[in-house]
Symmetry: C2
Subunit: 505 residues, 2 copies
Amino acid sequence: MGFNHFIKIHENDNVSITVNAISAGTVIMDDVVANENIPQGHKIALVDIAEGEAIIRYGVILGFAIQSIRKGDWINENMLQLPTPPSLDEMEFATNLVTDLPEPPVKTFMGYPHPNGGFAGTRNILGIITTVQCVTGVLNNAVKRIKQELLPLYPNVDDVVAINHAYGCGVAINAPEAAIPIRMMRNMVKHPNFGGETMVISLGCEKLTLEMLLDEQEILPENVLILQNVNGHDAIVAEMMSMADSKLKKLNERKRVELPLSDLCIGLQCGGSDAFSGVTANPAAGYAADMFVQAGATVMFSEVTEVRDGAHIIGERCVNEEVGRKLVSEMKWYDQYLEKGQVDRSANPTPGNKKGGLSNIVEKAMGSIAKSGTSPIVEVLSPGERPTKKGMIFAATPASDFVCGSCQLSSGVTLQVFMTGRGTPYGLAEAPVIKVCSRNNLKDMWGDLIDVNAGPIATGEATIQEIGTLLFHEMIEVSSGRKQCLAEKYELHNDFTIFNPAPIT
Amino acid sequence: MGFNHFIKIHENDNVSITVNAISAGTVIMDDVVANENIPQGHKIALVDIAEGEAIIRYGVILGFAIQSIRKGDWINENMLQLPTPPSLDEMEFATNLVTDLPEPPVKTFMGYPHPNGGFAGTRNILGIITTVQCVTGVLNNAVKRIKQELLPLYPNVDDVVAINHAYGCGVAINAPEAAIPIRMMRNMVKHPNFGGETMVISLGCEKLTLEMLLDEQEILPENVLILQNVNGHDAIVAEMMSMADSKLKKLNERKRVELPLSDLCIGLQCGGSDAFSGVTANPAAGYAADMFVQAGATVMFSEVTEVRDGAHIIGERCVNEEVGRKLVSEMKWYDQYLEKGQVDRSANPTPGNKKGGLSNIVEKAMGSIAKSGTSPIVEVLSPGERPTKKGMIFAATPASDFVCGSCQLSSGVTLQVFMTGRGTPYGLAEAPVIKVCSRNNLKDMWGDLIDVNAGPIATGEATIQEIGTLLFHEMIEVSSGRKQCLAEKYELHNDFTIFNPAPIT
Ligand SMILES: [Ca+2]
Ligand SMILES: [Ca+2]
Ligand SMILES: [Ca+2]
Ligand SMILES: [Ca+2]
Ligand SMILES: [Ca+2]
């Protein structure tokens, strides 16, 4: 395979991106010569583009030229005017349902059967849920001691994790949008990696009551500790330890068994994206995702603001009108949410995205959607909702890495695959996170933070299928507990971050 | 002093509250007999109240009777209809400026002079600011090692604290309301307890750029580490440790000296309030606050939704029209913020408040305002703003304990006094928190979590002045580092929680 210097994706594209930074005078292809120095991953005009004409990449219009652009010019983010977003009222559904998905080389993994049915666990964790941040201080003291004194007694248990968060009190708990944070919390209690053991720490006077969090029959002294009923700090820590001890005893009985991949629930997201993300890491993840879907697994992608400009592309992949309607309603909700805050979808791209060559949200969207492969979309979820179908799912969440990660956890993912172009040490305490980078120099630089390098796709040294298959195997190894990903090795844990669109009071 | 069983505050009140739970048949006063069992801290009708008639406590209308109430009946939260809130357009300012404040028994304390002028420090802490949550995992690994390996070498430094938070990326950074979180972050860098040493950890591609956080001349390699420029996890941890080492060296030179109380900045808030909060703990804190103000200190109270129903009472205490106008604008902003979320001020009270006898937000407001004593209000701050005046200040923040605490930290408080009725183990990593309880049985139960008991005021065993003076001395001892409060002893640290009314993207 040859070595690429420039990547043109679609035959209609009038730009290509640079695989490495180039100097003025470099010959791009045939009769195109760079008019100036161009940074890595940035766009170069392949033809003259007149003011107002479309700039095309991925075969779609990224925007319209604000000034006239000469063949060989660097096209940066200040040279495009954003097109109007696809209309949510004129969508077509189920017109692009791909059925020839790649065959998975493996059909099972070693996982923890979930006691209540549904998804399997990939880790065996004592998850301690808090109803409100007030309890954080005492709980952290107890967790330190639980990890030191109790966890070593239960060798089959991987970790003890306190789900501290900023929700629970001082919030408008009766606001319509409070449904989102409450659902996130409810579903976290039942995360597959927590093995059906419920340990909830409540203060006693908070707005997020036990009745909102648990089913009535679960509200038992063995599952719930209410601090205002216990005699002070030392007594609270003692109670927490005794509760943890009996939960750890039960968790220690869990055993990995061979399970079909249809028991797996996987989340995909990207963060710190660059222009390579959409041609290397994300499509490779999409290829792996297609294999998991073909094996019957549940795979979700998210990040509403980031895929909004490709809504029509997602809509065509929705299996039916009902799924499509849910997609439209989630996207409309988000449009209105941004509007209330006096911003729009252009608020998404970061300085890092732009430095990485992503000129605007349209270009970012095309790359972001690539991670979902080609599978039909069987269901659309509101933030933190649990799937009812198996297959590829669009889980509507913010694009914020930690908020998306937390929403996907609430939706039940037990493995997350995270694609990055600029690089992030992101990780979760509740599930392993495999990090995939989009370019070789990030892997060279961050060897101990990046699990899989998709950079060779950009240089032409590997295909999307090859890296996708490599990633597939890595996902099986990590899910089966035969391998730790680097975020686990270094215990890189981002905080559980609730999506609360309702007011703080 | 006698022992109270029932507390009637104002001569016009037609209710009193029970100091302890009472049974049906108990004689309240003269000719009033309880018609039913009444929980501790709840209201009892002292006269017959017809349907639609006002229920009065603190001399103000808490609400209107939904049904007719007989003398001796228990009045619970379902029996009142909320009055309309005080109009923000017809406020009177500067009509109640009290000048005879109680004299402070002490006029100095032992504090750390702040290198940039302004407020003094009460603790000597290496505060490590993050621009974005992405860096949390690696930073926490570094902090663990810094505390174990470096901190013991610098005996004059109290602690190393990472300011992790959920802001920085995946947020609408250009939204009008983003001014609040950005200001909070900017001001935290300069917290007096951090001694003017700047240590900022950035990822490199986030939306909250270094330029938004720091002044241009502070953006130096010695103050800022950008992870995307460092070669992976282990190298990042090593760089963080070397940076921390040079900062700790400088902090270790800080020495406590005798300073006037006018160098102190104190924050007041309450949480988990009950019907006693407004007659014991809060007025005692208000008395102590008046003494600090008399000594020239800066003292702030907050919690907009909670004091909204007493806006007119705060307005009368504003020193002039300009301060009053800022009060109105902050309160209007909050009214609109709640309205956008389809809720109103009635969203504030918690189930715990109600269980504790607080029927609604009017009753809670009267108790909440009591913590500010009687001093004239010299300034009103937007959330996270720094004061420009000394004296009593209204810092407009949410009432949420951790959000209010974080906003007050950004405003520069180096000591917080926290009043509670129901009990909370709340604490902050960045400044000591003295906890004051409103009733004896909470102190009995939570002896190792409550620093000061204001309960004897309810039973008549102590006066507001006595407990207020006791609290004043406790505040001096803790500020001077001669005493640790219980939240410090147990390292009870609530997370720094940014107030971000703008959308997540
Ligand atoms: Ca993304
Ligand atoms: Ca993301
Ligand atoms: Ca309060
Ligand atoms: Ca509060
Ligand atoms: Ca935390």
